[in-house]
């Protein structure tokens, strides 16, 4: 779980944030869909659908003893571009919302947050490949994209709960303080492992693809 899926029911008091999430996501979607080239649209719809399916399926790949799953948002951004990638993230979040991953009232904000990974992953990769090897670039791009989206997630969490000092100052009650502290530590560790895993896997996939079908991960020519 390299991503935090914000669930339903936690942001009751910060409904305005959910509204903003939806607004941002819908505006993006609106422009992306409008910008889809009429000529190309027939081609891109199956691609967007397939990529969304790929992200969903990826979650069932067992990584070994740790119960993590990937979602490859950054990789999809690198391969199909930020626009289709963003649509993919929306579709995935929408479907997962029904499955207990994330939630229906938070589809907007979750999409906006993970959509950032798609965008940042894609752009950084384009930037990095000018200097470095593709495997290195993709790892770094993914890592930074995930750090950013995680940071934003925390920002959102603090906005929702209305307190950032709760974790910093804690509580007079020692037991609760300890619970809170170790809980946060666990979360940070889990997230760090998740982010590293996803960066490594993304990089491995990119280097696989550059051996087998380099045009998919090539940025030297103009590419979406």
């Amino acid at each position: 779980m390299s991503h935090i899926h914000i669930p339903d029911g936690v942001a009751r008091d910060a409904w305005w944030l959910l509204v903003i999430g939806f607004a941002v996501t819908l505006i993006f979607l609106f422009f992306i869909l409008r910008r889809l080239d009429r000529e190309q649209v027939g081609k891109k719809i199956p691609l967007a659908g397939s990529i969304s399916a790929m992200m969903l399926v990826t979650m069932s790949v067992p990584l070994g003893f740790i119960p993590f799953h990937l979602n490859l948002a950054s990789l999809c951004g690198i391969i199909v571009g930020p626009e289709l990638g963003f649509i993919g993230v929306f579709v995935v979040n929408l479907i997962l919302a029904f499955m207990g991953h994330g939630g229906i009232t938070v589809v907007g904000i979750n999409t906006a947050i993970i959509g950032i990974e798609v965008l940042v992953g894609n752009k950084l990769y384009g930037l990095f490949t000018k200097k470095w090897k593709r495997s290195m670039s993709s790892a770094l791009a993914t890592f930074l994209a995930l750090i950013l989206s995680t940071a934003i997630t925390f920002g959102v969490i603090f906005l929702i709960t209305g307190s950032s000092d709760a974790i910093l100052q804690g509580h007079h009650d020692e037991a609760i303080h300890f619970l809170s502290y170790s809980g946060w530590l666990a979360i940070v560790i889990v997230l760090a492992i998740g982010i590293i895993l996803e960066s490594v896997v993304t990089s491995l996939i990119v280097s696989f693809l550059s051996k087998v079908k380099p045009e998919l991960v090539d940025r030297s020519e103009k590419h979406v």
């Binding site: 696989f208 051996k211 087998v212 079908k213």
Partner: protein
Amino acid sequence: MNPVVKVRCIKHVYPDKTEVSICGLDFSVDQAERIVILGPNGAGKTTLLFHILGLLSPTEGEVEVLGMEPYKDFKKLRREVGVVFQNVDEQIIGPRVYDDIAFTPLNDGKDREETDKLVKNIAKQLDIEELLDKIPHYLSGGQKKKVALAGALINQPKILILDEPFDGLDPKSKQEIIDYLNKLNRELGITLITTTHDIDLVPQIADTIYVLSKGEIVLKGNPKDVFSNTEILKDANLDAPVLMELFKRISNRGYNIGTPISIDEAEEILVKILETRYYKN
């Protein structure tokens, strides 16, 4: 000698509650025997193979491979059993042919040098040395099958399992694979278990045929016996190979002139009859 594979009346329930049962006659394979499993679509052929491979555990019934329980002793058995599935595209994962063939030894902890020897050796046997450096994705259907076969054989398994290995191949590629499989069987004593819908090829790769239909193994025997059982075959949506069917019909019309299994045999039978009757023209 103990059978290398033994299956007795298994039942499997898939998560979606589809029930597959494979009862009736016992399934029992000897070392170095060549088995072909026939049956209509959905009869449970692949399901049976999955049980033999230890990929599924039977809800009821017994499966024994080399004296072990495949599902429980998966790790041990894995090394003794090679597999090629229908869709080789899903089986070849190395970025280069070489990497793919080297997959199992490297994962089993063999070192690069030893692995290299193994890979080169198997590639030579299958005559795919010049492919080693290629990207599997762009190979032809027949070449991909050979690569998958190499990957399955590199561990020198005792049993080789093939699920519809001839699908989508042209006649020559089919024949090449058949010849190679028979060579493996003859020279190394590898046990072959194959499923196929290509009935005309069956006599070439079967010592024993099992016919699966409606949850039962309804027929078992050598090709001649099995394919003369037209009733049961029809009932299982199957045909006999064309040649056998032809001679069966002739025999039904009252002329018992034999049941050839290969085109050569059929030729000899007919020529003998004709020799005594016709002048050559």
